[in-house]
């Protein structure tokens, strides 16, 4: 008797599941700011907090909004929209901020809305657009996320380094 398709398939079936090569992934902290949805590798994020009363610093670049007291520590606050030349945020008392860290520098950043942590496959990263303006310089890439749409992956160490250099130059 001719074997059925099922019998033929079973005859060729493997003894056990073949292990699949793991797809490397990274965890990102994702937030919205203006029209942008930005993602930063989560190891650079220390905490998410509420914006305490902001004290402006005289004679500093416009992206450095001032300093706040955050759990007993004085911390500079940066507006990424101004830094990336994408407009400007309006800091609201009690608004969201998150604290980023790189090379010993701790800086707070404004966020309109914190989405949270997501794991992203490294292979899904696309290069930042060529000629994408001043912001592209600080992007590590783009990802088309099924749930969140287009994510811009921000290179936080590069942002902090450039911000620090800009403040020192003045």
């Amino acid at each position: 008797m001719e074997p059925t398709p099922l019998q033929r398939a079973l005859a060729e079936a493997p003894e056990k599941t073949r292990p699949q090569a793991p797809r490397p992934e990274e965890e990102f902290f994702i937030f919205k700011l203006g029209a942008l949805t930005l993602a930063i590798v989560s190891k650079h994020i220390r905490e998410v907090s509420r914006l305490a009363p902001l004290t402006p610093l005289p004679r500093t670049p416009s992206f450095l909004l001032g300093v706040v007291g955050n759990r007993g520590q004085v911390m500079p606050v940066i507006d990424l929209l101004r830094f990336l030349q994408q407009g400007e945020s309006k800091p609201m008392p009690g608004g969201r901020l998150f604290v980023g860290e790189s090379n010993g520098l701790l800086v707070a950043f404004l966020a309109d809305h914190v989405i949270g942590l997501r794991r992203i496959f490294v292979a899904d990263k696309l290069p930042p657009p060529a000629g994408g303006g001043p912001a592209a310089e600080f992007l590590d890439g783009l990802v088309q996320h099924r749930e969140l749409g287009s994510l811009s992956l921000l290179d936080l160490p590069k942002v902090l380094q450039a911000a620090r250099a800009s403040v020192v130059r003045r």
Binding site: T55, L57, L64, V67, V68, Q73, V74, R164, V167, R170
Partner: protein
């Protein structure tokens, strides 16, 4: 110079255009009017009214005035409430730190460093 650890300091709190600042009381000679002495300009921003002034003078120099909007009082602040300015906030010749008044950072000013008439300033 004394090696004694300073546990508390008296700071004069003042307001310029809605922002509070503090300065070491020992640097302040008196609170005066805007026309009492040469002005150091507006190193901390332009006051809204600027009719009042903190008058100070480093040793051997003439009195100068930092124009302000008002004096908010003198506070005794413990060392534990004082913070150096974080690196990422950048260096400033006259903002030397902050007093954490609960969760608000009040910037602390070295008045002498704001004086453009001091000899060191002319060499800078």
């Amino acid at each position: 110079m004394s090696d004694e650890v300073v546990e508390t300091v008296e700071i004069v709190l003042f307001d310029i255009a809605g922002t509070r600042y503090g300065a070491d009381m020992t640097q302040v000679r008196r609170i005066g009017r805007h026309d009492d002495a040469d002005s150091v300009g507006a190193p901390l921003g332009t006051p809204l009214e600027g009719r009042r002034a903190i008058i100070f003078a480093s040793s051997g120099h003439h009195e100068v005035a930092l124009l302000i909007d008002g004096v908010l009082g003198v506070h005794t602040v413990s060392r534990g409430e004082l913070r150096r300015l974080p690196l990422a906030a950048g260096p400033s010749p006259y903002i030397i730190g902050a007093w954490l008044d609960r969760d608000q950072a009040v910037l602390l000013v070295d008045l002498f460093a704001t004086n453009p008439f001091r000899p060191e300033a002319s060499h800078a």
